[in-house]
């Protein structure tokens, strides 16, 4: 692993994770200490995000929003768990400047993504396109879910058939160790 000037990448990640967790825990007991802590956390993430991006002379607000959206969809090749928008790595700054320049030249989002993929591979896309190389990534979880459903179905069928066998006497056969 290369030591890299990733800035405060790690702490920002931890904060980001906490923030995500926090948003899942929405219904908090009123006036709790936890809520206070979360307010402090939110305040922190705000300032940290603001640090990562230096002001750029956007033509208008729409272009700025487009830039924000695009850089949040692209991954920093150096600090690999950060987006280009969040990363403080020198390469992220250079790539942000490059994206900005290309936007001024009237390049579309797709053209900009193509430009980066040609140099840094599909790795930089946070939303990988569906190709032969990524179908397992897209459908793997579904396959596992289907596999699990299959196992459950077989187990239920088996158990359903047991009493119908009409075996007389005690029926130890039901508890055949299947109930894991």
């Amino acid at each position: 692993m290369r030591l890299s000037p990733c800035g405060s990448g790690f702490s920002r990640d931890v904060l980001g994770m906490l923030r995500q967790k926090a948003s899942r825990l929405k219904p908090l007991p009123q006036g709790s200490l936890l809520r206070l802590l979360l307010v402090i956390l939110f305040a922190f993430t705000g300032t940290l995000h603001a640090q990562a991006i230096e002001p750029m002379p956007f033509a208008n607000h729409a272009q700025e929003l487009r830039f924000q959206h695009l850089t949040h969809e692209l991954r920093c090749p150096m600090c690999q768990n950060e987006t280009l928008a969040d990363s403080n790595a020198p390469i992220a700054r250079d790539l942000r400047n490059q994206i900005f320049k290309m936007m001024q030249q009237g390049k579309t989002d797709d053209e900009i993504k193509q430009y980066l993929v040609a140099r840094y591979s599909k790795f930089v896309l946070y939303d990988p396109p569906l190709t032969r190389g990524t179908w397992l990534l897209w459908f793997g979880p579904l396959l596992i879910l289907l596999g699990g459903a299959g196992v459950v179905l077989v187990a239920i069928r088996k158990r359903g058939r047991m009493p119908a066998n009409g075996s007389s006497g005690p029926r130890p056969s039901i508890d055949n160790g299947d109930d894991w």
């Binding site: 692993m1 290369r2 030591l3 690999q80 790595a89 390469i91 140099r119 840094y120 591979s121």
Partner: protein, 180 residues
Amino acid sequence: MSRLLPFIGFMLLAALFGFGIWWNTQHDPNAIPTPLLDKPAPAFNLPKLYEPTQTVSKADLLGKPYLLNVFASWCIECGVEHPVLQAEGPTLGVQLVGYNYKDAPADAKRWLAEHGSPYAVVIADEPGQTAIDFGVYGAPESFLIDARGVIRYKHIGPLTPEVVAKELKPAIAALRKETP
């Protein structure tokens, strides 16, 4: 048999995790495969570090294979790689071209004066713009470029004696076979 099923399931999972651990020790999980492999190196025209008024272009270096080594004085792992380049450089049989990446020329010169220079020529990319075309995202990185200007091998991270022996030297030997 059905009693064994959970155990088999456990063993499959254990094997999968074991494979994951093994796989991650076999390669650098942070290295991004370059899409530029076996493609012509991007055109460049960069000033020499020691004579900034003179430039070196891709065309200037055609005709002989060379190893383009991206380094910087701020790069900690370049210090790890440097002794290897010093020791192995003369035995490689290809020219070493230093690519000073995002570095102040004074710092780069001081660094080379201190550690010694294994390079036949050093080119400087202080803004880091050309490096984007090469898909460079940090230092050190090394590109083996053949006589026709095609990138034949890339290594991300420091070249170690193992990498030189197992990857770089065979790649150079392969070049020599096709152009006697």
